[in-house]
Amino acid sequence: MALSSNFWIWIAAILTLAIYSFLYKDNPFYKFAEYLLVGISIGYGISVYWHNTIITKVFNPLVYDKNFLVLIPLLLGLLMFSRFFKNVAYLSRIPIAFVVGAGTGLSVPSSFEFLFKQVYATMPTKLDIGIIIIVIGVISTLIYFFFSLEHKGFVGRVSRVGITFIMVAFGAAFGYTIMARVSLFIGRIQFLLSDWLGIIK
């Protein structure tokens, strides 16, 4: 393999280097690449929304399938724009009420099921050291987040066990985060070395 002859790979490589140049010092190349990213993601988002929402969910059903029920959600959606006009701004509450109401209705029972599953899974079906640690961890952490009792005496001791568990979890999350950030960097280096420079396969 050799240096890439693909124009777009060059663009991608140059932009990658422009972003990484920030590590040395803030500079115009970095700023350019950053603004470009923000602009492109908004533009891309709008085009996708346009095709997949306006066209497939509103235009096509109305024009081809003559499904006039679509007008109801369309009207509700348009009411959101009333926020830009002060004297009718209150109308935007109607669609928001729909979204909040339906959203809560959907999520509340599901969240319960979710909680149930977690409690269910914490039940010790067999007694081994792992499950005992889990049960102790869950209970002591819950006690740490218990606000109606002063953390003194027994409760205090248990909540200290709880915070220890929380810290161990943070340690694990911290390690994983480092791993993730390194992985992202590896992905870019791989791109630069292989797709762009062709040094490795």
Partner: protein, 430 residues
Amino acid sequence: MKKIFFFILSISLFILIFSQEKPILTFLGEDTPDSIVKNFTIDASDIPNDGGGGIELKWDSPEILKDWFISIIRIDEDGKRVLLTTDIPILSKQVRDVNSEEEPDRVIDSKGYNYWGILSKKFITEELLQILLDTFDFKEGLYSFNDDTFFVLSKTQMVYSKASWFNFLRLAVLISLIIISLTFLYYLNLAKKGKDLYIRKINGLDAVEEAVGRSTEMGKPIMYILGIGYVTDIPTIAGLTILGRVAKKVAEYETKILVPSYDPVVMTTAQEVVKEAFTEAGRPDLYNKNDIMYITQDQFGYAAGVDGMMMREKPGAIFLQGLFFAESLILAETGHSIGAIQISGTTETAQLPFFVAACDYTLIGEEMMAASVYLQKEPMMLGSIAAEDFLKVIIMSILVLGFLLSFLGSGLKIEFFKNLFDILYQALQV
């Protein structure tokens, strides 16, 4: 001679062609040889706990039939035939008749349907299928088609699909919903009636005074960062409440507070909060609107802006309270490097480790909400904190109970407790 030969040839050819073109479907009698086959029945019923439009078919699969296949044809009350399925192994034991709403042949609620089962040892041919769907006179019994025998089984009783109003499989969810709602109502009512609900001290909050005091001693300002949330985000709201408390202390110590903001609405709200706090402390004259300024609505732009400000102003105390994402460490690290006391708090679990590592005090998740309740002492919020605690007690009791039962049942092998544990375990399964 030639003529006779030709005649025989044409007749045999005719028979050959005829026999191939017109397959013969023969009824071999109602008595099926195998008594097990005779006893094989399909049960059809409405699918329970669904939204309608579905029928469930079930059958036993006796060992003797394990190599057989079943095909099912649905006939509605108007006599219209629809193929449900062909050649599925008997061992599968059940099939559901559910179709997309766009499908013209789907099951329609409150219309009657019969199902006929066709049992065969080989796959049913396309030809036979056509006959079954078009002209076949359905009657129980043994048939042969092109030398392959198959059985037509007794049809099911007429079934109707219907939508269920209530999904009984989720009864436990309804019950817990009722319990949780009642708990909240109870505590809200208590709080409204003016009952003093206790809320414990939050560690990081005690440090507020120390941080503001030390910063004043050193003659340095205080910086309060609300993160990159909007006013609708709960951590941001909690952060604004805590800001009120901090600002009041700042006014008492007659020092300066800087609030760089990410969102214009958050900025305006923060201005109001600080102004009110200064007034409350009796020092409205110290309030300077320009200390609570807008930076930018770009994540890393904001981080860079705040970092720069930290380096220039060298605040003695930094509060990071609100919603933070990838910029959390950039901010907390810069704060640490200039030697400020840092008190942080957020609900983002992925960012908390960074705060714990780089700050002196951290409000972890729910502690942050509780801190804002602690400061505000608003009855409604106190009530919900108390209710949450009560629900935590319920969960803990279930776990402890489960643990004890499991210890007695599985550990000490006492059958009674093992059964109790199983009941509890099943009840939690939704």
